[in-house]
Amino acid sequence: MRLVILDNYDLASEWAAKYICNRIIQFKPGQDRYFTLGLPTGSTPLGCYKKLIEYHKNGDLSFKYVKTFNMDEYVGLPRNHPESYHSYMWNNFFKHIDIDPNNAHILDGNAADLQAECDAFEKKIKEAGGIDLFVGGIGPDGHIAFNEPGSSLVSRTRLKTLAMDTILASAKYFDGDLSKVPTMALTVGVGTVMDAREVMLMVFQVMILITGAHKAFALYKAIEEGVNHMWTVSAFQQHPRTIFVCDEDATLELRVKTVKYFKVHHPRCSPLTSITHVKIVEKNVPDEQTG
């Protein structure tokens, strides 16, 4: 595991975006060789998406040969509802880039047969050759996607009923009316994300909404305690290639020793890409490292 700690939300977003950008460029995607990316929604990745769009508009990054798979989607919410994850991805990402619509996969929460939809999604991932980099966040209860406490650590894409905490937290996006919040969602499983060749988890927050401290306890449980299905993100201790990107506040519940250990190993720059991409590669782009 790598733990990358940045001072604040903006820097963390930029670091994460650069990492994704460099991974794609280094991969040299093309007609017969697509880069597959797993994507999250929510307030955390917004800054990262903005940066990726910026790199695209600068001409540094193309999504022409990138396939994306989103983690989850509400069940029963009309696709064009402003709070659906389809709307989120369109407004915050897809409409600003050059991705082929056929390569942007999001679970359909209005499918006639929801389990079949989930199975088909797993199949699509397989047909795409698996996921090269799965980007996600963690919830305050340590969940990844909608794999809430108690979810199997080997679970696959399936239908989940949302925990009361999640519904309460989401109410603000539905005019504060609990009855309007969806109660079920389709989500990739812990096992699905574990299958990815690399995983990057973003643990940082915009200050005005809520500080990173909100996630700090979950991060502590995820990396300093044991693997436990009550904190599903802890499963990634057993993944060969995971990075946690954090802001200072997210580390508040960690041992000082842990933080110091990772800060000492804070990556220096060793460009992953060729000279033409030097301008987007700055000091804190990581070098090849596993474990």
């Binding site: 064009n80 709307s87 369109w90 407004n91 409409k95 082929d100 619509p101 056929n102 942007a104």
Partner: protein, 409 residues
């Protein structure tokens, strides 16, 4: 239209690098067009899994719904009230020329005239879609002859009349046919106006109050009978009085039927209305303000003498008078000039100024689903403007129908 099966294979255009007027705000969004209508790109992406076939960079400009002029008497030497054998050509000429003013749809206006003129002219001005040939004709605006003699303004006295004898029958007899008519201005104090207004409203014609000495009570009754518009507010009506605001009082009247509000035309050419009066009206009721040109045939021509209806007018700069008098008889300021002047004078937002020339006239005519906005499904009639609201290009049904000359080309 096909039976609705399967997506259209028609090309999709994407206008990028622009700010759209949408939902009353200027948003940094791209405009997507297909088959002459504005398209929802999110549906295109997720349902049809398609990207645009062609992109057009708008250079950071503002894209606003095309302007709609509901009161224009002619222009470029053409007089809509002149009964010739080929009125159609005159309308077509004006329709083509006003594209450069950002106008994509208009209502050719006929001033007070004798019945022979209406009988000859009206059938020659059918409703017509806009295109590269010119702005669309939404219907005719009949301004008179059922008006107040006292407030006739530039209209010829000889042809002013009333309908007290046979109410709506008089109306039909005078005009011949109302098929191509969409707005009718009359004075509500005329006897039996209630019946006439009701009948016109029932036929889908917008009734406007103007050239009148009506008091507020009479005007309110007219509204309740169905009138929804005021012709060039302040001009050719009693001045506002604090104990009887007259027609002007409709802007803040509490007798307006629920769910409705009054629309009112304003000529913002800097001559017909004092800036302070323009601001008072705008502040009292911004949602109802409709910018009109009330342009006369001299629009687009130089200084000198020209005809309007049955009279002769004198043009001097931006002013046009009844020859030999100081009576104003219509403006010669193009619509985009009016929009800019309105913006500067009232200090309102750019969005508000643009809506006054597009959304509000569309709402007045009940066309807001397809005209006057850039909402998904609306006709792709729009105007490309720089930050100072000068027209750079005009589009109808997604096709460019006019473009400003670029220096150095």
């Amino acid at each position: 239209m096909r039976g609705g099966e399967g997506p259209s294979r028609a090309p999709v255009l994407q206008f990028t690098n622009c700010r759209l007027l949408r939902g009353g705000r200027l948003l940094r969004e791209d405009l997507w067009v297909r088959e002459g209508r504005i398209l929802d790109p999110e549906k295109l992406f997720f349902d049809e899994r398609r990207l645009a076939d062609r992109q057009q960079d708008c250079g950071g400009c503002i894209l606003a719904p095309g302007f709609i002029d509901v009161q224009i008497n002619g222009g470029f030497g053409v007089d809509f009230s002149l009964a010739t054998e080929d009125v159609g050509s005159g309308v077509a000429l004006v329709a083509r020329k006003i594209l450069s003013h950002g106008v994509t749809a208009f209502c050719p206006t006929l001033v007070t005239s004798p019945p022979e003129v209406y009988h000859k002219v009206l059938p020659q001005i059918p409703v017509k879609r806009g295109g590269p040939h010119g702005a669309g004709v939404l219907g005719v605006h009949l301004e008179g002859p059922f008006i107040s003699r006292q407030k006739r303004g530039a209209h010829p006295e000889a042809y002013v009349r009333s309908f007290e004898a046979n109410a709506f029958h008089d109306v039909l007899a005078t005009y011949g046919s109302l098929d191509n008519v969409c707005i009718l201005t009359l004075a509500p104090e005329l006897d039996r106006s209630h019946e006439v207004i009701q009948e016109l409203t029932a036929r889908g014609i917008r009734v406007s109050l103007g050239h009148s000495v009506a008091d507020l009570r009479t005007a309110e009754n007219a509204m309740q009978s169905g009138a929804t518009f005021i012709t060039h507010l302040f001009n050719a009506m009693l001045p506002f009085h604090h104990r009887d605001p007259g027609i002007v009082g409709l802007l803040t009247s509490d007798q307006v039927p629920p769910g409705r509000h009054i629309f009112y035309g304003m000529i913002a050419d800097g001559i017909h209305t004092n800036p302070a009066a323009l601001r008072i009206a705008h502040r009292a009721h911004p949602q109802g303000l409709v910018l009109v040109t009330d342009a006369v045939p001299a629009l687009g021509l130089g200084n000198g003498r020209h005809t309007l209806g049955q009279q002769v007018v004198e043009v001097d700069g931006l002013s046009a008078y009844v020859a030999g008098t100081k009576t104003l008889c219509g403006s010669i300021a193009p619509m985009d000039t009016c929009v800019r002047h309105f913006l500067q004078t009232t200090g309102c937002s750019v969005e508000s100024a643009l809506e006054s020339a597009s959304l509000h006239p569309a709402q007045l005519l009940g066309l807001e689903k397809h005209k006057g906005s850039l909402d998904f499904g609306a006709d792709a009639d729009f105007v490309v403007l720089d930050d100072a609201l000068h027209v750079q290009a005009t589009y109808i049904s997604g096709e460019r129908v006019w473009q400003a000359e670029v220096a150095g080309q």
